[in-house]
């Protein structure tokens, strides 16, 4: 078993990993940048090592510094968490070279699945459904037109060499083909020096459904069912839940099998996630491989809540060479779990990340309520890192009960002076489309106005103002003309929605 683990991360996930180590008797070594000297992940560990300045490149992304911190502290293993270096093959290889157990898949797997195109080819060979598409070897207009007909409309034209949406064209009608091909090729040539085009079926209004998988070094692979992650904004997930209302038992079984096939094709080891797009509903809904996340996910706690397992504990044991602690048939889903990501961001200013001192910070508690967090009251929220303050994870017997529990917990949450998205999360949970389960990846984009509406200063209860007056009752100084840190007179309230 691992004896001493260095956690190459910060924030809530570093605290989470330290928790798991404590119960396994593994000593922990935290690392920290200059901005995190007093952070909870630092004080929770058995030892902490300063690794550099606040900018990530100088600390949490500094491979050499991390490896030497592991050597200095005589750690025998490294957990990369998520983000930062977690999916970098070079880091995993540096750990392997230094004789450190890397808690995750081998470097070779990270390299293999890190290439989007390579992963797609691998999945296709393994029989995992991918979005139908063609790269005609004949790149003439006629050949591409024929390919579009075979793939079917609506379709996407994509530069084969490209990325980031450059040169990408949506085709809804065959009359658009000629013009779009010309423009796409021109843009692709300009951007990538290669005008080769790829035709792909356009998946409209998909759900984002991912399957948790876990493989050990003895050839065993299981899946731990799905997570519904369609509530996202620019690929940043906001609320996740499991089970997904969109999955029938037959579809769930198919997707689980596909995810295991994907993991097997990747020669995967340890915890991973296979992301799919889901189109349509019922047993006949179609799912397509999107990518594989070769690490622990942010939203792993909802899977833990519903399946009754401890994924981080299992990661540490499997990395130590143990067999998987569960057989597929032993794994069942029970109840419903929802994760709300608590971000330091202002929904009224295009979700601009917020920084500053947490004047007051108090987490909710209660049966079925779990808060994974990396901050405490009085802490400075830094501009250097992800604005994720905490994850509120609730579990209840049914989806309705879980929603009610999440709403009650959000109402109890106190975060003052650094603006956070608590009220926005509450508005999502109260939205009729969310409640009915009729969501897709465009939900936030479609509903953003209604989710932000009803934020009325007039609705502030007089009782709250009475408390404020009493709190400052000893003072009688005049207020200065001053705007709030980020724009005045926008008291950040949605009482209308919350009272429903």
């Amino acid at each position: 078993m691992i004896k001493r683990l260095l956690i190459a991360n910060r924030g809530e996930i570093a605290v989470r990993i330290i928790c798991a180590c404590r119960e396994l008797g593994i000593e922990t070594v935290a690392v920290y940048s200059a901005a995190d000297r007093l952070a909870p992940h630092v004080s929770a560990a058995d030892r902490a090592i300063h690794i550099g300045a606040a900018p990530p490149a100088e600390s949490y992304l500094n491979v050499d510094r991390l490896i030497s911190a592991a050597r200095e502290s005589r750690a025998d293993a490294v957990h990369p968490g998520y983000g930062f270096l977690s999916e970098r093959a070079a880091f995993a290889r540096a750990c392997e070279d230094a004789g450190l157990v890397f808690v995750g898949p081998p470097a070779s797997v990270l390299a293999r699945m890190g290439s989007k195109i390579g992963a797609r080819v691998l999945m296709q060979r393994a029989g995992v459904p991918i979005v139908p598409g063609e790269r005609p070897s004949d790149q003439s207009l006629e050949a591409i037109r024929t390919a579009v007909v075979r793939v079917g409309l609506p379709a996407l034209l994509k530069p084969a060499a490209g990325g980031g949406g450059i040169g990408m064209k949506t085709l809804r009608d065959s009359s658009e083909i000629d013009d779009s091909v010309e423009r796409a090729r021109r843009e692709a040539l300009a951007a990538f020096g290669d005008g080769t085009l790829y035709v792909e079926r356009l998946v409209e209004r998909p759900r984002h459904i991912e399957i948790q998988v876990f493989a050990d070094t003895h050839g065993n692979i299981v899946h731990l069912f799905e997570r519904e992650c369609s509530i996202q904004r620019r690929h940043q997930k906001t609320i996740e839940e499991t089970p997904s209302v969109a999955l029938t038992p037959a579809l769930r079984a198919q997707m689980g099998e596909a995810a295991i096939n994907a993991a097997r094709a990747a020669q995967y080891i340890n915890a991973g996630t296979v992301e799919f797009l889901l189109e349509g509903t019922g047993d006949n809904a179609q799912f397509y491989f999107l990518e594989m996340n070769t690490r622990l996910q942010v939203e792993h706690p909802i899977t833990e809540s519903v399946t009754g397992v401890d994924l981080v504990n299992a990661q540490l044991r499997v990395a130590s060479g143990d067999r998987l602690p569960w057989r597929q048939t032993e794994l069942v889903q029970r109840g419903h779990a929802i994760e709300c990501r608590i971000y330091a961001e202002d929904p009224h200013q295009n979700f601009l990340p917020q920084a500053g001192t947490l004047l007051m910070y108090q987490e909710p508690k209660g049966p079925g309520v779990r808060v994974d967090s990396g901050v405490i009251e009085g802490a400075d929220v830094s501009v250097y890192y992800d604005p994720l303050l905490a994850k509120l994870v609730v579990w209840a017997e049914t989806r309705d009960a879980a929603i009610a529990r999440a709403v009650a917990a959000l109402r109890e949450y106190v975060i003052l002076r650094v603006r956070a998205n608590l009220a926005f999360l509450g508005a999502i949970l109260h939205h009729p489309r969310f409640i009915s389960g009729a969501i897709d990846t465009r939900f936030l984009e479609d509903e953003i106005e209604s989710l932000r509406s009803g934020l009325l200063a007039d609705d502030v209860p007089l009782a709250a103002l009475a408390a404020a007056a009493f709190h400052n009752g000893g003072e009688s100084r005049a207020p200065t003309e001053r705007t709030a840190p980020k724009g005045a007179a926008d008291p950040f309230v949605t009482l209308g929605a919350w009272r429903g």
């Binding site: 500053g356 103002l465 009475a466 007056a469 709190h471 400052n472 009688s476 001053r482």
Partner: protein
């Protein structure tokens, strides 16, 4: 009536009058509440029918309160004086952008001359001195070294 204070609460565009008795009776906009302190910054507010648990923090010019998960910012002032005074004041010692406080060079009671550096900030790898806008005496310092500060908040208040 010596124990009663009158204040004005500014929330959004509204200004509401409040009277605070030392016994915890607070009248806001004509409605009476009984306020009890539960803990540091935590209050129980009752009227005849129900009660609320409210968290409050900050200074009178920058009061933050939390009610049912909503963070609300209000301002507090002596009644009637708010409008008269606020034209004289301003953001004379605030950060021009989000920045980190490197050093605070004054403390409450310090006499300062116009142009003297009060606080040294750092943002985008540049040092940004915050200087005294006029001669005066420091009434309050509202930041500390290492803190990240936002624009729109005075870092030092002069008398």
């Amino acid at each position: 009536m010596g124990s009663r204070r009158e204040v004005e609460i500014r929330v959004g565009d509204r200004a509401l009058a409040a009277q605070i008795d030392e016994d915890g009776t607070v009248v806001v906009d004509g409605r009476a509440f009984a306020v009890t302190r539960l803990d540091e910054g935590l209050y129980l507010v009752r009227d005849t029918d129900r009660q609320w648990r409210i968290a409050v923090a900050g200074t009178p010019e920058d009061v933050w309160l939390s009610v049912d998960g909503h963070a609300i910012r209000v301002e507090m002032g002596t009644r009637g004086r708010a409008r008269a005074r606020h034209t004289m004041s301003g953001l004379e010692t605030s950060a021009p952008m989000p920045a980190t406080v490197i050093k605070v060079l004054v403390e409450p009671g310090s006499s300062v001359r116009v142009g003297e550096t009060l606080v040294m900030l750092e943002a985008m790898k540049m040092e940004l001195p915050i200087r005294a806008p006029r001669d005066g005496v420091v009434r309050a310092v509202t930041c500390r070294a290492g803190e990240l500060v936002q624009p729109g908040v005075n870092l030092v208040e002069l008398e």
